[in-house]
Symmetry: C2
Subunit: 697 residues, 2 copies
């Protein structure tokens, strides 16, 4: 028998050898079980095998950034159209400005992935260098932006699809909402996010856009470039611009167009959150992928803008009143159907071979849906990081807690649907809310990086290393200057147009997370070990709850007996004296060697009599522990669960409030439990697994 004295010796010989040397005795267990079990001794380095090579990492992390070329040009053209054709001429200059920002941001983030390879991304950079409040600000900004990524990407996807499927016109909000629900369902179910699921459509999209560009420029060189149908229209400027563009208004208009074009930058930060998923050398590979991503994004963006300019494309906010036919000066009117920029270009360039048009549109639609899916994957990743720091419920940080992930996914989807419905799936309106979050996060991240280099420089003495650090700091400083300028421009041009909604949402999320963080801090202070808990309880009094004499009760009685408490009794609540008499008779017949106590419940209550009884026991022996054994049926179907254990559940809930009481569930597995066990045994993949470097074999 194992006494306390033997336990105190801190050896493991009490009773029988506990499974400390378990690993050596494992023979028949599968490799997987072994790895998880033995762990410490086998911290597997083969884990690297499952990580992402660059050719797969690029599409996994790039779909969000690349997909924005599907709507960023549209927004530039549309904003400029307010100033009429004279403003329109600025389109490729705006494109170049966006390109410049993109280059500095990519250069800055290459510094980030080298300095912070742990996958914490902007959140980590801001927290480490600027403190938790800055970190939390970044976290809130990114969480809100995930919602907008879903709303904007899906809306744009539906708008693009409408140029191939005219019957979609007018039902965009409904179609977009249905798509979001579909994405939600897929992610709730937990489809395995494989690299190739991203790779193929992303590469196809690149091919489609670059091919369109090449084909267009080739035809331009041969003087064969057609103009799009909308080229036959002149643009009617808004009334204040009728006399041509004046100074301040013009600057404001260009600034707004630039802000909208900066939507092309969203998603660039994704790679910095995904460094751990890269193959080694992780940081270097991530930096290379980032460079590749930047180059591709710029090429694709500029191809589209310049081609659209050459083909005299018109894309305006309200085609019915803003487009006037050059030939006869008649307005386009309500019958005019305005396709997206990619739609117009592809339709014209491939007018002789429509399959290529459909291919381009299909690729665009798919990449936009993938970009939205990115948010569904990115959310749990960010959530787990925030949870690790105690700003979100802790269970977000353990994998496979599907319930919590599910709640997050549902919240994300519902918020996106609310936005889509509120803004009628119009990308132009949604884009006003977008990118505020991203640029808040860019700024704090760059500021943090500058502080990071300053800190390192104070400690570093090697001149070569110092000059490298200074170079990095310079990159981040330029990055900060650039992103700060953009943020100011975005806030100035978009605040009233909708950005305030995003900011209010960010503040709410921030306050919520800070509240959770404070709660965890308070609890953790309350739980710290002090001297108040040193008195060891003296003895254990056990109570087995009995309603009927059946197998679960017998098992609970047997388990309670083998646990050898200092005293043991069975307790039953009497509803009906006849039933109790029957139970007592059975008890005698089976010669159960445990005294049976009956408490009466004149009002057919179960909880209160038991609680009162336990309370009374506590009063009699305040230093004792009471352990209440509750027999429970385990059933396999959810509706069966509703029919059993409800009272046990409530009783457990109540007993937990009593100090000095333990509650022991003694399960009895009914035959139907086998089904559920099988179902539970196989964990399904959770969204974001690939990004976090989690893979099941």
């Amino acid at each position: 028998m194992c006494t306390e004295a033997t336990l105190h010796r801190r050896d493991r010989s009490c009773g029988r050898e506990p499974p400390a040397g378990l690993a050596s005795s494992l023979v028949g267990v599968t490799e997987v079980a072994k790895r998880a079990l033995v762990g410490r001794k086998l911290r597997s380095e083969q884990l690297g095998e499952t990580l992402l090579p660059k050719r797969i990492a690029l599409p996994v992390f790039a779909s969000d950034a690349l997909s924005s070329v599907a709507y960023a040009p549209d927004e530039i053209f549309l904003t400029l159209s307010i100033g009429g054709l004279s403003a329109y001429a600025f389109n490729w200059k705006i494109g170049i400005a966006v390109t410049l920002v993109l280059i500095t941001v990519v250069a800055s983030y290459r510094q980030n992935v080298h300095a912070y390879p742990s996958g914490g991304g902007d959140y980590e950079v801001a927290t480490v260098n600027l403190g938790p409040t800055a970190g939390l600000t970044v976290g809130s900004a990114l969480l809100v932006d995930y919602v907008l990524t879903v709303a904007v990407s899906i809306s744009s996807g539906v708008q693009n699809a409408a140029s191939a499927l005219p019957w979609l016109e007018g039902h965009e909000a409904t179609a977009a909402s249905v798509l979001v629900i579909l994405l939600m369902a897929i992610n709730l179910r937990g489809t395995k996010e494989s690299g190739s699921a991203f790779a193929i459509p992303t590469y196809l999209f690149m091919v489609a856009i670059l091919l369109m560009g090449l084909w267009g420029y080739a035809r331009y060189l041969f003087g064969d470039l057609p103009t799009v149908p909308s080229a036959q229209y002149d643009i009617v400027p808004e009334s204040q611009f009728e006399q041509g563009i004046t100074g301040v208004a013009m600057v404001f208009l260009l600034a707004r167009a630039f802000s909208s074009g900066c939507a092309a930058l969203t998603g660039v930060e994704a790679i910095s959150n995904g460094v751990p998923a890269f193959k080694k050398p992780k940081s270097k590979n991530a930096a290379t992928t980032l460079l590749l991503l930047g180059t591709l994004a710029i090429t694709m963006l500029m191809s589209i803008i310049v081609l659209a300019d050459l083909m005299k494309l018109r894309y305006v906010e309200d085609p019915a009143t803003q487009l006037k036919r050059v030939s006869d000066g008649v307005l386009a009117g309500d019958a005019y159907q305005q396709d997206t920029v990619i739609g117009q270009l592809a339709k014209t360039l491939y007018s002789d071979f429509t399959p290529l048009f459909y291919f381009t549109i299909a690729c665009t639609g798919i990449i936009l849906v993938l970009a939205a899916n990115t948010a569904f994957n990115g959310f749990p990743v960010l959530g787990s990081i925030l949870a690790r720091d105690g700003f979100l419920p802790r269970q977000l940080d353990t994998r496979g807690d599907r319930l919590t992930f599910s709640n997050g996914i549902i919240v994300l989807a519902l918020a996106a649907i609310v936005l889509i419905q509120a803004f009628d799936a119009e990308v132009t309106k949604l884009i006003q809310l977008y990118i505020v979050g991203v640029f808040v996060s860019f700024n704090l991240s760059q500021l943090g990086m500058i502080k990071h280099w300053n800190r390192l420089l104070r400690a570093e003495t090697d001149p070569a290393e110092r000059s490298r650090m200074k170079r990095s700091r310079a990159v981040n400083t330029i990055g900060l200057a650039m992103t700060a300028t953009v943020l100011v421009i975005v806030l100035l041009t978009k605040f009233l147009a909708g950005a305030w909604i995003a900011i209010v949402a960010m503040i709410c999320v921030f306050l919520l997370m800070r509240g959770i963080g404070r709660h965890y801090d308070r609890v953790s202070q309350e739980l710290e070990i002090d001297d108040s808990d040193v008195t060891l309880p003296s003895r254990v009094h056990a109570i087995v709850l009995v309603s009927k004499l059946h197998k679960p009760t017998m098992r609970a009685l047997a388990y309670a007996r083998v646990s050898r408490p200092n005293s043991l009794e069975a307790l039953t609540v009497e509803f009906d004296p006849a039933e109790t008499a029957k139970l007592m008779k059975q008890w005698e017949e089976l010669a159960i060697p445990i005294p049976l106590k009956v408490v009466n419940s004149p009002y057919r209550e179960l909880l209160r009599p038991v609680i009162r009884y336990v309370k009374e026991l506590r009063k009699q022996g305040p230093r004792d522990i009471i352990t209440v054994y509750i027999p429970e049926y385990v059933v396999g179907r959810w509706w069966e669960q509703l029919l059993h254990n409800q009272t046990a559940l409530r009783l457990k809930g109540r007993l937990l409030f009593m100090p000095g009481v333990m509650v022991t569930s003694v399960p009895y597995q009914l035959s139907s439990a086998g089904r559920a066990k099988k179902k539970l045994a196989k964990p399904r993949p959770a969204p974001g697994d690939v990004r976090r470097g989690f893979r099941d074999r």
Copy 2:
């Protein structure tokens, strides 16, 4: 130390005196606690004190039955109006037919309450005499009828209110839905259903209706009875009746009017479910109350019908097209607002003194709401009886399980709202679905009673007793003949008009309850004690789950130690080697005399590593029991609960599926738990408590 040997002796001297003789040592406990605790020795006979005297029982059980005089006359007049004024002349004859049925039903139920005083009502009579299928049919019928009681009563209440508050016209469905939600909220909250809350409005309603009758007849005797405003109209019969009423069509029309009038019978059976709540002699008092109820219902019903006839009241389905002014032959048109029968009578009779008009309408409205509330109270009572027999979830039968009651109340309210919205709160349409259930239950009950007397007669030899039984059997036979006739008439005249919906609903409820019954039977067979469970487990291996070293963990470790298992170890899941190293160091510093085992989780999972570890232990010692100690925080606010214990909860859920494993929760009460404990301590009354004879002091 308490060994198994001492326990086997089946005495109570193991360890310390267990609280068998607890009662004698109770001094400072309140009377209430004592009664619940000591129970068996004090099965209090004072319980009778809280039972209902006849003067209170009458209003408690009569509101449903009496309130139907607010719509039964309307339906009779309305149905007859289809045949024009010549059919209208039959109104008081239909009233007499309904009265006859009511008399036989009351006479029959007086037999029931004597023979079955336990409160099982029709369900018990049918189950005992005709078998469980018949009982279940009655149960389903009554459950469906509760929904209809809510829908019909509330709709009628709103229609009556509209004659005093004209702005309600056209918004009846909304107002009725709001009222149902209000009733739901009140019942969810658990307002104490006191006798006087029923008594005052019910008596006021009786006074209002009887006073109106007396005043009307008095004025008639003095030749001063005015006619109602609708008397100036002639009724346009439906096209097929334009040539006067022909044989079959006429019979059918009268039969339909009669069926609708039989709505006055609903609620008569309520007393037979409430016998236990009566003062002694229970059956005699219940029978007397039933007689009183019958007399009152008949008096009130006939008063209204005859008075309406004398005052030449017209009440038709579609006043705009069915009413033609006698003087000039012009149709009433859309402007005509048709008040209810009681509304028209009261308005005319009290035209000189409108407060009495408002009083009458207010009483009518209140009694109808009370009648609907009856369903909210009757539902849990019937539910608890069905649950006792295993046809509904068992926890419905223990009092104070608010969660289950709440679900039932919500289902009841939602179903009623669906009906109200679907039928636009029109009593005339809803009444087509009504009373099928009541009459199914009447029939099975009477049939059961006949079998009951036959059985008793076979055993009885005393001639006086035999003749009494034969008399009772005769009463029930007449009752069956009458109710069977009515049921056939109701089915014939109403099946296509809506009764089929009620029948389909009854079948669904029936199948659901039978399924639950079969499930419980299957489980109970599976759980029966046989020889398979005799092997006693050999030893207990305990595992304490550790995440951090804080107070809850320390408490769990202390409790586990004092429980002296055969072997004991602590288990932690490693997410991060640095964290684990910190934990190990702390473990050393605190010199905790329990070995700490670390399992690795490369994917940041908690569940699977633990499950696998436990599984492996099971394999090593299949006859051992493993008990897993889980430290749990107990917090007071629901949102705090979301932030804690989620993983513990899921782990417990998974471990329950493993045979031979017990799960022990060791609670640690945080300071906020105090709030919740206080809130939990005071149980709120549940709907139906008064009817079941439950009362808190």
